[in-house]
């Protein structure tokens, strides 16, 4: 039998089982006498053993076998769960995870897995806990008692993500073609054609929605590994942290979820490293020993909100101010930072107040990374912090990356798209006063002074007086994170739903644009990353 074709399936399913093991081991660590987590880990390990043996992956099988034996002893009350045991179990699961990747890739994981394997075998040889005499708390049977009601059954098939991406792209192209068709039909003006088109149009919309829905996955698929991550971070920092995960069943487009995982990890690590205090410091200030960290996901119409909140010391304004002065980010005369300034300073690329480089953060890769990524995804970030009470970072993200309503503008014959989420209004400069303030071009928008940005200059085109054909000057007032600016363009070209296509190289250098699209008439347009302009 050709086993190679089962390798990908083995890998996918092993990852799921490993995720289950981590979740259940965390539960076991919190409640060392609980029997259900032991049974659940046992089942996951057992399943993996069967699969890896079939695939002929010797190291995965050996590790799984030792893990299973150890868990079996725990189940039968021959071994009490303490920190040594849970640490060894975690280490074994890590080794298992690496061994899966190595063996699937065709390598040998034998040497690398030897320490974890040795640790398991040593534990397995340990004597039974001394007080196993009377009634043992571990009486769990391997089979969990039958659940009376029939379990909820959903019928599913597995589809490669590339397939779904392909479908999504096709549906996107279909939307674009529909736009072009609508334009043509409008010119012809035949009622029969219009009717047929409107029917086709509705079907295309429905098809698009169905495909979008098929790409939605619960955030738990990525977020379930965070409790383990926070636990490890807390251990290495000598802190106690309880992570609460809320809304793990909320669904998000798969590609959006992949993109947002890293920023969330960053925020959690920041909270663990900088936010939450050491247990003794917490007790001294009247807080519980263990820091509370919450990751809560909620859905509001087309937006998903992710809140990372800790009850730690809050962001130290004085230290931020001192560092900001030292780095010349604020004027030397500034005495204190307002909320808004604080957020602006800490989100500067490379800003960090960490005293030393730890394992976790303080590498000068600060919250700016989070901000940049979230903005590129069409979202927004809000930070609230109170000294001694904690910090709350809230991300607002669209449910999907794919379709964005955009304002189109023409500059020197080229089309550019500005996402409507960042368009505050459009104005004609002819009706507003222009001034020069501190050497910068600004306009007066009602009572507000708004800096002007010449789009021509930004994209490196020669100055054309920024005057359009009919002698007026068109300005898009863009807005992000509470900041505004007027973007001077040649001409507005209407609004359109655009299908965002990522292009390579966006993340290095060409920070002005977050992607590209093809407009209804087949003309390509670049999508402006508003956040990077403000």
């Amino acid at each position: 039998m050709d086993l190679a074709k089962y390798a990908a399936l083995f890998q996918t399913e092993s990852r799921e089982q490993l995720s289950t093991m981590n979740v259940e081991l965390l539960a076991l660590e919190r409640a060392p006498t609980a029997t259900e987590p032991v049974s659940a880990v046992f089942r996951a390990v057992h399943t993996m053993k069967g699969m890896s043996a079939t695939m002929g992956y010797a190291t995965v099988t050996a590790l799984a076998h030792e893990l299973e034996s150890l868990l079996d002893r725990v189940r039968h009350g021959e071994l009490a769960v303490d920190q040594t045991v849970t640490d060894a179990l975690f280490a074994a699961v890590d080794a298992l995870e690496r061994a899966v990747e190595i063996e699937v890739a065709g390598g040998s994981a034998e040497a690398e897995s030897a320490p974890a394997l040795g640790r398991l075998q040593a534990l397995a040889r340990m004597r039974a806990s001394s007080d196993a005499g009377d009634v043992s708390p571990f009486t769990a049977e391997m089979q969990v008692p039958t659940v009376g009601a029939a379990s909820h059954v959903t019928r599913t098939v597995r589809v490669d993500l590339e397939r779904l991406d392909g479908l999504m792209n096709l549906a996107g192209e279909l939307l674009i073609a529909r736009g072009r068709l609508t334009d043509v039909a409008h010119e012809i003006g035949d009622p029969a054609l219009d009717e047929a088109l409107s029917q086709a149009s509705r079907l295309i919309s429905e098809l698009h929605e169905e495909i979008m829905a098929s790409r939605m996955v619960p955030v738990g698929q990525v977020f379930d590994r965070f409790p383990r991550l926070v636990r490890d971070a807390a251990h290495s920092l000598g802190k106690e942290i309880e992570l609460t995960l809320e809304g793990r069943e909320i669904e998000l487009d798969r590609s959006m979820l992949d993109e947002i995982g890293e920023p969330i990890v960053h925020l959690l690590r920041n909270a663990a490293d900088h936010g939450i205090e050491r247990p003794e410091d917490r007790v001294r200030t009247g807080k519980p020993r263990a820091g509370q960290l919450t990751l809560a996901v909620t859905r509001e119409r087309q937006m998903v909100t992710m809140r990372v909140e800790d009850d730690g010391r809050g962001i130290d304004r004085d230290r931020v101010l001192a560092r900001a002065r030292a780095q010349g980010l604020v004027d030397a005369t500034v005495e204190s930072l307002s909320d808004e300034e604080l957020v602006r300073v800490i989100s500067r690329p490379g800003f960090s107040t960490a005293d030393r480089v730890t394992d976790l953060s303080g590498r000068g890769v600060g919250i700016d990374v989070v901000l940049t990524r979230v903005r590129a995804l069409g979202g927004a970030v809000e930070i609230r912090t109170a000294p001694g009470e904690g910090t709350n970072v809230t991300l607002r993200l669209p449910v999907t990356l794919a379709i964005v309503r955009a304002l189109l503008a023409r500059v020197e014959g080229e089309m550019y798209a500005v996402p409507m989420t960042h368009v505050h209004e459009t104005v004609d400069l002819a009706h507003h006063a222009r001034r020069r303030v501190q050497g910068r071009d600004v306009m007066l928008l009602r009572d507000e002074v708004v800096p002007l940005l010449q789009f021509r200059e930004i994209v490196g085109l020669p100055e054309a007086g920024a005057v359009s054909v009919d002698g007026t000057t068109q300005v898009i007032v863009i807005e992000s994170d509470g900041r505004r600016a007027g973007l001077v363009v040649d001409e507005f070209a209407g609004q359109q739903d655009i299908v965002v296509k990522e292009f390579d190289g966006v993340r290095d250098g060409l920070a002005l644009f977050s992607g590209a699209t093809i407009l209804a008439d087949g003309v390509p347009a670049l999508i402006v990353d508003v956040g990077s302009l403000l």
């Binding site: 089962y6 083995f10 399913e13 089942r43 399943t47 069967g50 695939m55 089979q143 039958t146 379990s151």
Partner: protein, 120 residues
Amino acid sequence: MSHTVLICDDAVFMRTMISDILAESGFEVVGQAETGVQAIERYKTLRPDLVTMDIVMPDMGGIDAVREITSFDANAKILMCSAMGQQALVVEAIQAGAKDFVVKPFQPSRVLEAVQRVLG
């Protein structure tokens, strides 16, 4: 007419592989189940000629499922699929009404032999 089969295993990987082995030999895989409870439900609706049953599954294990199925259909033909080191459980499964067993890792020829024995 080809024989119908219901495959019960909590791992998609295992279900896919067993399904491929049997389908290549002309069996008709009519259903799959990933827990013991599902196995019983599907058995009732599908009435397959043959069931392959994993021992360790969430919700309800394979042995309890065998007991339940044979309680309402004494002629059910169930083949246990066990991992190494589960001899005691295999014996229990046979006592519960399973007809035969194969041990993981599977070799297609072994699986087919066992299936032929069970179907008699």
